[in-house]
């Protein structure tokens, strides 16, 4: 029996699940090895659980979704959250820092029609998650590696070191040293292949915090490059705004001010 896969979404942009369909060279081999039992973005077919592996994209923002998630957890052997929305609340977690009623009023003329929780939270705030894949969006090769490893019962090769390591591997000159461009690479988890520095741009942290990052020292470095407190806070509060390390660092700067 081929292992049964489900791919589902919560509040998100669909980009992370699209990564699977973007694996054009590998897709037919992948679907040959696993049984895509439920993947509504790609198929009308609905095969009941239980599933061997469920990939979840998106964050939890409604009471209804919170309930739905509990049922999904009960129906799958392994649950993997994919992308910054599912692992940190996504860009929509910016509402965690604001007044949600105000947010509803800005966007909708009839606020009473909208039901939403006051926060956008990652999947593992609600249920046990077996693995978290970072990125906004995730990297498709990391996804393929993860699926292959989980189904083979081995440990996936997903490093937790910072982007700087990938810059060295790619031969990128350091954009902070060479051009004085502020970069979050030193505190951001690798996985993308150091794309931004390869395009003369500082990393903006879309893979979330690396393991034990030194945010204080990077903040001091950025100040030396002329970055204001507001800019520093805004940079930490984007696609991984809800990641605890980024919340702490940005809140520390905010309260100091």
């Amino acid at each position: 029996m081929r292992p049964k896969l489900a791919v589902l979404k919560f509040a998100s942009c669909d980009g992370c699940q699209l990564s699977l369909l973007d694996a054009e060279d590998e897709l037919l081999d992948i679907v040959g090895a696993i049984d895509v039992a439920y993947f509504p973005e790609a198929s009308r077919e609905y095969i009941d659980g239980p599933y061997d592996l469920t990939l979840i994209e998106g964050s939890v923002t409604t009471e209804h979704d919170r309930e739905r998630l509990r049922k999904i957890r009960d129906d799958t052997a392994m649950l993997v959250s994919i992308g910054a929305c599912a692992t940190a609340g996504g860009v929509q977690a910016l509402k965690n820092f604001g007044d949600v009623d105000e947010f509803v009023r800005v966007v909708y003329a009839e606020p009473d029609y909208i039901s939403t929780l006051s926060t956008s939270t990652p999947i593992n705030d609600h249920v046990k998650v077996d693995f978290e894949l970072r990125g906004c969006p995730i990297d498709k090769y990391q996804l393929i590696e993860l699926i292959a490893a989980l189904l083979a019962g081995r440990k996936p090769n997903i490093p937790t070191y910072p982007v700087c390591v990938e810059c060295k591997a790619r031969g990128n000159p350091c954009v902070m040293v060479a051009h004085g461009t502020p970069c979050l690479g030193p505190i951001t988890q690798a996985g993308c292949g150091a794309i931004c520095p390869a395009y003369n741009r500082g990393c903006y942290g879309c893979f979330g915090p690396s393991e034990s990052p030194n945010t204080d020292s990077l903040e001091t470095w950025w100040q030396g490059l002329g970055v204001t407190d507001d800019e520093w806070i805004r940079t930490l509060r984007t696609f991984n705004a809800g990641a605890p390390t980024f919340v702490e660092a940005s809140t520390r700067t905010e309260t100091r001010r």
Partner: protein, 428 residues
């Protein structure tokens, strides 16, 4: 007699929406197309962000058409601060947009829509019988993604687009390396158009008001004027004079309408019908050969139009690469000035309008984003209303599938419009 058709989740669309249809005799008694993709409040949290952040932030509205968001955002911001990006930088923007049309349209044609016509649940199922066709589609899609990844750094949420231009521009060699694939793909797109044109299409045409941007000489990607075939001809600044968005109960997306008349239609059929004369002669001839000379009003046939637009995108990409001379600078300098800016561009699924107010410090004080699917919502509902009468003899499964297919013809991006299609048909 009462019949109920109930689909909990309309598949092969981007996002989460619901539909409820009640039929009495041969008439539609009630119809609701609602979007319950949970809201993400982009327009609210854009307030207080710096104007240069808009392309990266708004890209996250949609993983399928991030370039559209980035292009409408940069156009609006450049309008607000009074900066013009032209020449080769503008051509590179068109080139990366070609890549997005290709990856998004080919995804739709091969993986989301064609399986309907051939009776498969998905492209994965279709591959079991038509492996070569599915492989051709995947290869065509990859060529589009390669264009986006080279110019943008990666396929989804590219990192290289900014207000003023790019962080890094490609070399001649990098672009030249793509021409062989693009030439193959252009021919493959023409074969694709001929392949899909043989599908069986329901006999169904609608008197849509088509709306698209226009350009004096080119098939539109980014434009400054917006026209319709019923007399609209406005500059982008006049958007809010002519269009409005209403918030209706049962939906987390706003419904856009023409103030004076109501529903309208954006997307490939609108672009094609309003800009047919801007297509290269070879593609005009192809359209005529496939039975859609000048215009197409059958939503099921949008799959032919998409295929022709894919061919166009490969052709344009080749032309842009052929004429490419690396610009001396990757971007024009930008500085904050207080003001209002409007931007439109043609996302694969239709016109995308952005408007921002920024203050003297460059912070956004107000944002308005009108995505294509919000604009097509009324049109989708009207299609379903018009489709059912005369077809109630169809069994539930067939009718349901054809209605789903009509919705998918729009390539609705419900994540954009806010996303879950849950189709319920009740007969009494």
């Amino acid at each position: 007699m009462s019949r109920t058709i109930n689909v909990d989740y309309l598949a092969r669309v981007e996002g989460e929406g619901a539909m409820y249809l009640e039929i009495e005799g041969d008439l539609v008694k009630d119809l609701q197309f609602s979007i319950f993709e949970p809201p993400r409040f982009f327009e609210a949290f854009m307030r207080g962000r710096h104007f240069t952040e808009a392309p990266d932030l708004t890209a996250r509205i949609c993983g399928i058409c991030p370039i559209a968001y980035q292009m409408s955002a940069v156009a609006a911001m450049e309008d607000a601060i009074d900066v013009t990006v032209d020449g080769q930088l503008h051509e590179l923007r068109r080139l990366i947009y070609c890549g997005e049309w290709i990856e998004s349209h080919v995804l739709h044609v091969y993986m989301l829509h064609a399986p309907d016509f051939l009776g498969y649940q998905s492209a994965i199922h279709m591959a079991a019988d038509h492996a070569d066709i599915v492989k051709r589609g995947l290869r065509m899609k990859k060529v589009g993604n390669d264009v986006v990844a080279l110019l943008g750094g990666r396929e989804i949420h590219p990192i290289n687009v900014k207000v003023g231009g790019f962080y890094r521009v490609p070399t001649r060699d990098e672009l030249d390396a793509m021409t062989t694939d693009l030439e193959w793909a252009y021919e493959a797109a023409i074969e694709t158009a001929r392949w899909v044109a043989q599908f069986h299409f329901p006999d169904f045409e609608r008197p849509y008001e088509f709306v698209s941007t226009v350009h004096p000489t080119q098939y539109p990607f980014m434009g400054s004027r917006i026209v319709s075939d019923q007399g609209i001809d406005i500059s982008v600044e006049e958007w809010n004079d002519v269009f409005e968005e209403l918030h209706v109960e049962r939906s987390n997306a706003l419904h856009a309408r023409i103030k004076a008349r109501g529903a309208y239609h954006v997307g490939p059929m609108a672009r094609y019908s309003l800009n047919f004369d801007k297509l290269p002669a070879e593609l005009q001839a192809l359209g005529a050969e496939l039975g859609i000379a000048h215009e197409c009003r059958n939503p099921y046939k949008s799959i032919i139009v998409r295929s022709i637009e894919v061919a166009l995108a490969y052709r344009l990409a080749l032309d842009i690469i052929d004429r490419y001379e690396p610009p001396s600078s990757a971007a024009v300098p930008v500085t904050a000035t207080a003001g209002e800016g409007h931007g439109v561009s043609e996302a694969p699924r239709g016109l995308l309008y952005h408007r921002y107010l920024i203050d003297a410090g460059g912070l956004i004080t107000d944002a308005q984003i009108t995505p294509p699917t919000a604009q097509n919502q009324l049109s989708i509902e009207e299609d379903l209303m018009a489709y059912v009468p005369g077809r109630t003899h169809l069994d539930d499964d067939t009718l349901q599938w054809q209605l789903e297919q009509a919705i998918r013809a729009y390539d609705p991006c419900i994540s954009c419009a806010t996303h879950f299609l849950d189709l319920t048909v009740r007969r009494s």
